[in-house]
Amino acid sequence: MALFSGENILCFRGERTVFADLSFRIQLGEALVLRGPNGSGKSTLLRLMAGLLKPHDGTITWDGENISDDPEGHNAHLHYVGHADAVKPVLSVHENIVFWANLRANAGPIEAALDAFGIGYLTDVPGRFLSAGQKRRVNLARILASPAELWLLDEPTTALDAEAISDLEREIATHRASGGMVIASTHTEIGLKDARILNLDDFRLTEDAA
């Protein structure tokens, strides 16, 4: 029963204290939505979970084992969707996704991933012709192409239209059904049924608490 959790995480960004004593737990099949105003550290927390950032204090564990002990092992468990879409303008959509899928052990079918987000017709189109929304869909199709338990989505719905958002909701549901976990930070309401909410505002150190 894979368990991904973090205990009393303290994180600085340069001189600023982003949050302190933050803890979270998530198990297979669950979803966690990060809420909070801009600058409250949603992206920072996702990058901490991915292992790009090291917390100043506190630990993040996967099945009880600290993720910084085996960063490569932890990377194998997760997919990260950040603000930038990593689509090469010169390569076609198919080549972009094949490249990312080959980096992982079990590359799934590319066409199915593209069709899931309704961009099957774009397979041979070079990246430079794509709109922002289409690039985001290619990025999301990338994580479908090779399965991983944990999805870390940093505001996945930016630049997506209503139809793409419903595709995303459907994919998240099937991913959770097949025993995956999703942690997403988002402002727009995406319909994740019985998702737990983590509001980063209550972990911000107030003036007197320090």
């Binding site: 303290l10 600085f12 340069g14 001189e15 600023r16 204290t17 302190a20 600058g39 204090d57 911000r204 150190l205 107030t206 003036e207 608490a209 320090a210």
Partner: protein, 266 residues
């Protein structure tokens, strides 16, 4: 793993900026006094009471500042690399600032070593610059300092700058012996036999005293100015924190948190 724990325990006490400032303000006056004292003694021996060298005549007096400056150039780079290593491995904020503070001082001493070296070379070899192995290595060291300083100021976020330049200081430190070896090797390849060796005859006693005194004077000066610059860097850190809090109205800054945690951890 033990060394890591041991290091953390030893440095933890002075990782806290305000406690370091208390230590600094006690050492600083002593460093200032030592600098002035050694400098006066060194000058007295260097200029007044020691005889001219029988072979080089009076120009040997330039050696009394050229050699200590070259020593300081090397010493500062080593100190910078050590501070950078401590800053990177143990995430020790004051060590990172010490490396940033050492760079300009080291660069000044390297420039002085080059300047006095060429002034010493003129009467002896008739040219302002000679591609002697040591002078060339010091010249390359000067560019390593410039690279460090340029990189540490090339980023908007100074923490990023000091991390990147710490890595460069370590990479540079690994390369210094390689550069030294290859320049010496290159020098012997193109060396016209007639050039007198740089340090001339063995230094005899009466010349040693001014040399050592000046070396101590430079080291005391280094400690004095470095402590000053670290204080400035710590202030800069606090200013940025306060400005950020004004902008974000967020919680207290990292330095205050550090002080709280290390206060508690004592």
């Amino acid at each position: 793993m033990y060394l890591y724990k041991f290091g953390k325990m030893i440095f933890h006490k002075y990782a806290n900026p305000t406690r370091f400032l208390k230590l600094a303000s006690t050492i600083q006056p002593w460093a200032a006094a030592a600098t002035i004292g050694f400098l006066l003694a060194g000058l007295y021996f260097a200029l007044l009471s020691s005889p001219g060298d029988y072979q080089q005549g009076e120009t040997v007096r330039i050696m009394y500042i050229h050699v200590p400056a070259a020593w300081m150039a090397m010493f500062c780079y080593t100190a910078m690399a050590a501070a950078a290593a401590v800053g990177l491995i143990w995430k020790h904020p004051v060590a990172e600032l010490a490396a940033r503070a050492t760079a300009p001082i080291g660069a000044c001493f390297t420039f002085l070593a080059l300047f006095t070296g060429s002034l010493w070379g003129k009467p002896m070899w008739g040219t302002w610059w000679v591609w002697d192995a040591r002078l060339t290595s010091v010249l390359i060291l000067f560019f390593l300092y410039l690279g460090y300083m340029a990189l540490s100021n090339a980023f908007d976020d100074p923490a990023r700058g000091s991390k990147a330049s710490s890595i460069l200081a370590l990479v540079g430190f690994v390369n210094v012996p390689i550069i030294k070896f290859s320049v010496d090797w290159w020098n012997t390849l193109h060396q016209p036999a007639s050039v007198i060796k740089m340090d001339g005859p063995a230094i005899h006693a009466s010349m040693l005293i001014p040399l050592i005194l000046m070396a101590f004077a430079f080291k005391a000066f280094y400690i004095w100015v470095m402590l000053m610059r670290i204080r400035g860097e710590i202030n800069e850190g606090k200013i940025r924190a306060l400005r950020l809090r004004q902008v974000h109205g967020g919680p207290p800054s990292r330095t205050t948190i550090l002080e709280k945690t290390t206060e508690g951890a004592r």
